[in-house]
Symmetry: D2
Subunit: 348 residues, 4 copies
């Protein structure tokens, strides 16, 4: 397979809830051709055929890896299967799109990353939030220095959500915050402390609170919960100069930038009473790009394959996110004990 190909032939592995979205996105992406859909369930394959007459189908990934026309696979199966499927695809010379979280362990994530690098293949982990207009705008604002020093990131991600039986709520929901933090902060946290419980014996933790500590003094926190009566998707991002509120449930003005902060008394006389006061000003809600994030990501995957460039959400980002999930889960099992994170996350 050559880079520079006009059209990339893509196979989607897993035609469940998210898989149908992937199929639709690649079917509509200008540079891609939906080549094959893979699922062990014959009914799902039949449904795919009805919707996309002419698409090939197969029951197993192995059945299609020998197809020389297949350029890339997008894997939307349970996380426990990610490593084996992605490794097989890479070894067969296929580019890989992997759903989040990338793998069950950071060792697996590291191995996939190295395999893709060795073979010069594109490996994209689908941290979809990174492709939204809101998060891109927030990253731009942070990068511009308008917020000053970042003090904290505070996320609430709760609702009456579908229980997962194979991963805990950190892997399901806080994973979004870990990828957003990596993208916005451009730094790996130094340590993590987490609390969480399950209310249903034998099931994964359905509620967790995770604190991440950065060397700069910044702190990040995620409140994730599958058992809340209302749906909240809110991030506060506090800086020394300005602060941001991102409310993903808002029907408009999802990102608001507040010109507010702290000011210090200069008069040493005031030291015992009002050393710190407040400054408030205007609020500004920038217009956001409204393209569907998954379509942006699909186009980006195709572009990266064609131009042999590295995706924004590459395997290293996916690996760093898995490292935090691992550490947070370990801390949660020890009721909040701090776990140090490895530096290599940024330098694999």
């Amino acid at each position: 397979m050559e880079n520079g190909k006009v059209m990339i032939n893509i196979g989607v592995i897993g035609y469940g809830y998210w898989g149908t979205n992937l199929v639709r996105s690649f079917a509509e992406a200008p540079g891609a051709v939906l080549h094959v859909v893979v699922d062990p369930d014959p009914e799902k394959l039949q449904l795919a055929k009805r919707r996309y007459p002419g698409v090939k189908t197969a029951a197993r990934l192995d059945d299609i890896l020998g197809d020389p026309d297949l350029d890339a696979v997008a894997i939307a199966t349970p996380v426990s299967t990610h490593f084996d499927l992605a490794l097989a695809a890479l070894r067969a010379g296929k580019h890989v799109w992997l759903e989040k979280p990338m793998t069950e362990t950071s060792a697996q994530a590291r191995q996939l990353t190295e395999e893709a690098k060795k073979r010069g293949l594109t490996l994209l982990v689908d941290h979809t939030f990174i492709y939204t207009g809101a998060i891109r705008k927030m990253r731009d604002i942070v990068a511009s220095g308008d917020l000053g020093d970042i003090y904290y990131y505070d996320s609430t991600r709760v609702n009456l959500g579908l229980f997962q039986h194979d991963v805990n709520v950190i892997s399901d929901l806080a994973v979004h915050d870990f990828s957003i933090l990596d993208y916005i902060m451009g730094k790996h946290p130094a340590a993590v402390s987490a609390s969480g419980v399950t209310h249903f014996p034998g099931m994964p933790e359905n509620l967790a609170y995770i604190s991440l500590f950065y060397e700069s003094g910044a702190i990040a926190h995620a409140n994730v919960n599958w058992l809340a009566p209302v749906k909240v998707r809110q991030i506060l991002l506090g800086g020394s100069k300005k602060m941001i509120v991102y409310d993903d449930m808002a029907t408009s003005e999802k990102v608001k930038v507040y010109d507010c902060g702290v000011k210090f008394a200069k008069d040493p006389q005031e030291i015992y009473q009002l050393r710190v006061g407040y400054r408030t000003g205007d609020m500004w809600a920038p217009k956001l790009a409204t393209s569907e994030a998954l379509r942006v990501a699909a186009d980006h995957f195709v572009d990266c394959i064609k131009s042999s460039t590295t995706p924004v959400t590459d395997g290293l980002l996916g690996l760093r996110v898995v490292e935090i999930i691992e550490a947070a889960t370990a801390s949660m099992l020890r009721r909040g004990e701090t776990i140090q994170l490895e530096r290599q996350g940024r330098n694999v």
Copy 2:
């Protein structure tokens, strides 16, 4: 001084921000007489005299403790002075109203509690939230069993608030959650894990995340922050049968009860896929009592003195709250390490 007196003569110690509210409340309380205002600042005393012609004033508590007409004192001074002032008042035979938090240490709180008990004096700690219509309604709903088993309590209490220079944000804001939890749960947590930082060297922590663990399996969490661009005062209370959202910033329907929860698949065949599903139903926002909480508390204090009954927010509740503050602060300094709480909190 006899119980059974028609009017209780009250002295308010400290005529700052909150002290003026106390003075106003006791001046309007039917069973009380505002007897004296105490403050070291002559200007403040002059202001009090202008507003309440005829009220006595004094610079120090010691100046008035010998007054046989004085029945009770309400102490609204910095927390570091609470213990000495309250102890002196109790030893002089005066009933005591103490602002929250009760004292700097649990040892001090325990000593005050014992002193009041020994002397048969009323000791009320001003955890004002306990006297609001919203919290009383929530307690009633929990006590009725309508929520089923309590799974979690999740509070967010953030805004661009006035920095304190003598206490951290846990003492200033999470203190409300600790008292509400004591009142609603009727139980003391078994352990605490907290994270928090200060962004201003030499100042107390301005942001903290506290998790409380209960023996029942319930978990409570408070997110407190002096440096947020928006004001949030929200509590989620999740039960096995119903759930509550309490939004104190809402201008109406502050308390909402959601008839929603989890249901389990009975068919063992489904065990690997949909063991847990969701149930949603109506939402109900009960009418709340609208009396001003501080007035309710002031009347309650007067009633307790007259009838020799124990206040709802007595010294023991105040003590249990201080114990949690102490432990949470200790955990925060150790970046989340779990601290066990003593059982005696409920049995002093």
Copy 3:
């Protein structure tokens, strides 16, 4: 064509924005078969064929009316074409689904209604809101008498919407309120007064305020505007016993029932001061059916054809709505002069 047929063959006329929704809905409706799509634009027909392989296509309605397999047509073309197309279809013995508003004039609407009646054919006007869970719940509550006497209906329907160049904002937006009122009130208004303007010479009115007067003393009002910076879709429904707020932009609890109202002083002494006071109580947000309204309507159309029953949104309802649009537009041109409505609307 016999009633009692197992599957109803449907032709959709017009494959524009709403036509594609109709095609999708009838393609998925269990009792219907998408038989043919009609549009003058060959590109649109090609798109339909790609999406629904096997579906027939035609450029004009006349081309298909002779097809004996065709049972019914759904017309989603500009309103100026509704009358001719629907009349031709009815005369060819086809059941008809017509988009709202039904026709340009009430005379046309009356003729279609009579034609359908004479031939025993089903005629449904697509006032989709009538098939939503929210409006159905509101109708049930009103019908139960829980609200007491209806005092007013107050609707705000504004946003930065697509300008229509063939109909004014009353036909485009207030049409929803007129159909909802017909359904909920079960009465025709006696008179109408409307104000409205266009801000763009040569274009239809882009903003209007319409008041409807009922013999019972109830009043209804609609505020419709294509030029608002925020999207509002809100109805207040006031009764003598309870009141409803329906916010269609809310992501949950769209319908709220308030137990509040007016109470009168019984003591004649109070007559000059407080003859009227307020009563407030609990609020209740009932669970709403979440089925997609268009699917419910499509199924209903098929059922009505099969069982020869009258649709909820039949030609008479469509006619009454057109009468109000006509009268409101006439009043608007005379800057609010009251126009009496004919009684026959309820008795054609």
Copy 4:
């Protein structure tokens, strides 16, 4: 009495709900002295004396008009008494502050305006909204031209409010919009059409909808209702370049400026389909002055007296507002018939 006096001695007439606010405001205004409180009810006078030891009291205005130390009166009595009281005060040489609405008829308002002018006395009508940071900011933005041409003003002012038995809901609530419009638009409307009803025989109209037409083509609308289950205080202000939403119930960002509007197709080919499209951009919420509006107005009154300048809300503004109330009420009684407004409103 000389202008240039250091302190203005003020008498407040009527110590009811609003009168107590006036008393408090003038007691705190730096350039004013609360000289006397007038009320027929001895209990109210006693209450005033308790709160303001040393203040004079009187039962009737006549009792104090001869007092040479009295410079000005603030009249907060039922509207039916405004004219007689204000005329008597002006004739006695006192400056006058009048609550809104100024008088029952425009003839009365005109006479008071002329009387004050003739005598060189200050006459301020308390349209408090004009002194809020929000309305002042909106006026500044309109005056700067940033909004372009004003297309519409759309106000909703509804809640479960206290029924008035002497004035209708237009006088009670829409009066605010009429004064805000006068201030922001700087123009008098040319005509008015209004609808409204009472649901309680013998009581004033409790719900009304008023449309105002301007020569420029702008339209203004007010929706006022004493019988709504929720409190809404919202104004939309649409211009050709930008639009404003002012939500007075918001706890922050009350005024939002949207950079959105309409854009026209330049290509004449598009004339039949997309002649008009939309433009959306950023949103901006300016910081607002937070001074209490009533205090700003009280200080302004005192300044106008001292400097012999004309108040922002002078008698002419008050008169124009009364003219609109009169015309709107007349139109309402004729079910929406348009009433022309006199031009002289801007040129008395």
